[in-house]
Amino acid sequence: MTLEAIDIGALATIQDSGRIGWRKFGVPTSGAMDSFAYRAANALVGNSPRAAALEIGLGDITFRARRDCVIAVAGAGYQLSVYIWDFPLWSSYYVRAGWTIRLTKLDSGMWAYLALTGGVQTQGRLGSASTNLRAHFGGLDGRQLQTGDVIHAGAPSHALSDLAARTLPESARPVYANNPVLDVIPGPQENFFTDESTATFMSQPYSLSVVSDRMGYRLEGAALTRRDNSELVSEGMTMGAIQVPASGQPIVMMADSPTTGGYPKIGAVASADLPLLAQCTPGRSKIRFRETTVAKAEKKYRELMAGLDGVINSD
């Protein structure tokens, strides 16, 4: 027993790097919404990149440590306090048994990842610890954390004292923003839309709707019109894909995206920019999109992920 959830006003679930290999059976990958912050939190506490962690969003949460451990919190939209101190995110901290860990939601930003030395232990389902809330499996019996839940951590990879007080420098972190500009790779049905609509989408701001969730982020703005009304038969989808239903208001598919869909896709958000999108605030953020190429997106993603190697001892 490592952490006990003593007060929950948040949507908190166990997530990992995703459920791989079952998409052809219709199983979403799930996993972290902000995969960079999730990976960073694990790296800070010396865990494997796929170790399970807690994803926390929407509200406040408080844990009590039942034994000594090292934690790290990464992401955006939260204030961290441990015992009596306020601490910045993107660093690891030694927590003594009995201390509280409190995450308080700020106005902007969405998701924080709390990693524990040794990783959160659960019985995986279909090869992953990730919680699928809609199909009710994975994580803690397929549900979100409730007050009284106890989180168990595995064995740390190193002595706790070696894993505490590490940080990921600001230069290696995503540049989160309330109103970001995100790179989009056009296709596969970009030619279903009028040139004017494509130009509109790649230049005008879209608001992030309050009905957004882990499955999809809904955008509100200039409606996109089609020149080709031929029906599309369902085909595979992925996180970041931008579907445009009949209303013309785009939806960006997120971590719990269905594996297939039948609406035309005007493009997909570049992987390097998905963390920026994930951390936008529904009802507040205004997002702009700009066209990029696959080659540029690949380069940007490699550069972002290389930053994870930059964890340093902060003292």
Partner: protein
Amino acid sequence: MRPRIVPLGDSSALVQMGNEIDLDVNQRVHALEKLIEASDIEGIIETVPSYAALLVHYDPLIFSFSHVKTILQRKISQIRETVKRKRRTIEVPVRYGGEHGADLEAVARHLRLRVEDVIRIHSEKIYTVYMMGFTPGYPYMGKLDGRLVMPRLETPRTRVPTGTVAIAGSQTGIYSVESPGGWNLIGWTPLKLFDPESDSPFLFSPGDEVKFIPV
């Protein structure tokens, strides 16, 4: 149509092999999937077959899109149409009508058929699982007899129970978990389509053949 390989973002490549619901096209999609699966290429994470396309998910830290495209072009050239795979046929007992087949009578009225004819036509054909999606374990099957083609419901239901057999357009499906749904509900099967606790969590795989047995 000549297969077309396009990026869906920077970590998936979509191989479009047609744009219709057609068994021959779908069999080519499944054939390509089997070829890729058999090669077991590190960096290709998984593939998702659909009616007329195969989505190939890859690790962008290992592959670039242009590299994946070259691999896929080679695999496409290896598809042999004459080789027919042996398919399994899964029998699915169905209780037509009743509480979980609430639209059966409306379907019959709309199609100007007797209820027993709808049941007979739906259950006499062997269907193919063209693809899976929507929810874990949900099979999209076809093609329905032309006499059973129905539009979707104008207002989707917010909850359709697990195991409900439904039709829409030229397709038939079975709700694999309780979920919202806009298809016409005609029956119910006690078979479990998805069990995350099981070693074989899915009743169906893409490419399977399915026969409904009225009970």
